[in-house]
Symmetry: C2
Subunit: 305 residues, 2 copies
């Protein structure tokens, strides 16, 4: 456990208490980053779990109540409900409050909340790039964010002091924080996160459509590579539905490029172009080396080392 920090906020309201929300609550509590953690979630069943886990200081199914007097509100709800939640709470936010979020697309969050939040309330869109394939309040843990990136996408009118405070929060949770333009964030994440996820869903879906006998054999011999995709494809369907709907343009662009590359591969196989295939399979090593040089993955060493 880390040394207790000086609290950054008096009252944090966490709206939505799934994997990310509950991990944030745990990290804030463990590191003493707020005097009071108010937790709100629509489902009374989920709220009960959160209370049983002792994730906060107060609990309510009414987001409006949770945000009253909060100096920071973090929306940890699916992207599709951000606009509605923003509208619901807007009248109860105190002057000077910061509203942030944890959504995987950022331009849509700005669009959904712009004009909804009252003057004197500061919007600081954020995306802590961390997660697992598990969902719900039990799935969270305080060290989830350690060593990962958090991207902030302030707009021209975002208050710089508010940005500093949100940055301080995520840094205290162990994250490396970067700022960038929302559209740029959406393009980068479309390839590093959204495309891999959609590919995993698709490949497992392709197998799901097979006849029962074949399907049993796919499961049986899944350790050959397929199994890793099934793990990724176990992620929360609602979250990923909303990512698709809210980062539509960037995702369609990257799916288009990927589809072209896949067609190229198919053609090379159909035409028995061995040299081309070998080149295609060799050039991908450049990016792998770059990732290792940048310290984003462990060097490639064999399992028993």
């Amino acid at each position: 456990m880390s040394q207790p920090n000086k609290p950054i906020f008096e009252r944090i309201a966490i709206i939505g208490i799934g994997l990310i929300g509950s991990s944030l609550a745990r990290a804030v509590r463990e590191r003493g980053l707020a005097d009071h953690i108010a937790i709100a979630t629509r489902s009374s069943q989920t709220l009960e779990k959160a209370e049983k886990l002792g994730l906060g200081d107060s609990y309510t199914t009414d987001a409006v109540k949770a945000v009253a007097d909060a100096d920071l509100v973090v929306l940890c709800v699916p992207l599709g409900t951000i606009g509605a939640v923003g509208k619901a709470i807007s009248g109860s936010l105190k002057n000077g409050a910061i509203v942030s979020d944890v959504g995987s697309s950022k331009a849509s969050v700005i669009k959904d909340l712009d004009g909804v939040l009252p003057d004197g309330v500061h919007l600081v869109p954020a995306h802590p790039v961390a997660g697992t394939e598990f969902s719900g309040p039990e799935a969270g843990y305080a060290s989830l964010f350690n060593g990962h990136w958090c991207v902030l996408t302030p707009t021209a009118k975002t208050d710089t002091d508010a940005v500093k405070k949100v940055r301080a929060l995520w840094e205290a949770c162990g994250m490396k924080v970067e700022e960038m333009d929302a559209d740029h964030h959406d393009q980068v994440l479309a390839i590093t996160s959204h495309l891999p996820q959609l590919i995993a869903y698709t490949i497992v879906g392709t197998a799901t459509d097979m006849e029962d006998d074949s399907k049993r054999e796919v499961m049986k011999y899944s350790a050959g590579g397929f199994r890793d995709f099934t793990r990724i494809a176990a992620s929360d369907p609602v979250m990923w539905r909303d990512v698709c709907l809210n980062n539509k343009d960037a995702i369609l662009d990257i799916l288009g490029r990927f589809g072209e590359d896949l067609n190229n591969l198919q053609r090379a196989i159909r035409n028995d172009e061995g040299d081309l295939l070998e080149t295609m399979f060799s050039r991908t090593r450049e990016i792998r080396s770059g990732i290792i040089e940048m310290g984003q993955d462990k060097p490639d060493i064999k399992p028993e080392d």
Copy 2:
């Protein structure tokens, strides 16, 4: 280390000493499965490494010499060279010798070796479904095969005693052994192993084509999912080139199905079909549950459990 077994073979010749060949050599040595391990590889540099690692009892760059007097010959070379190696050694195989392999496609191996091996020599095509993304004699380790499946694809004319002996070898190496028709093997592996690998190569290739600035950011934020694909895409390009060329029909069939499913996904995103997307992302859980029930992966528990 396991208890020494009674040797199954007097002399095993391992032709090709990469990841699989060197792992087999180590397992045979460690478990006392043969009195003599003869190692052959074309490259004198690789042979030197194998000798330095003490993987066998005799070493040669000439496969013809290695197979003389061997009662089992295991071809651990890329699929593209199996036919040529088979032809080269055919005149030196002793009567009653067994020839096996470790290739990822099986119909092509039967086609390449059928009619090439002399009468009285028994072909037992095999595929130990195990591996890592590493290559070369240093990458191998004796426990690589533990708990994984090995598929044997004997033909109607394969000697049953020879099949029993090859089964005993892989079982002694820790594998679960199944027999099936070669074409069926090729179809199952096309989805469980070949498609995931080709998808990983393609997605990393798509990123490789981006401008340098974007590429750096893809590396930086790769932990969001993309990174896992770069690890898979670090696998041996020559091996995978040969898999594509030798399991062409099954791979093209499954790439076609996957491509259709990908088009469906694109259309659903383009048309904002949220319900359809959620259904697509939920139905993949069935296969995941099946894999866990069949003991092919650990249950989904959160990382800190």
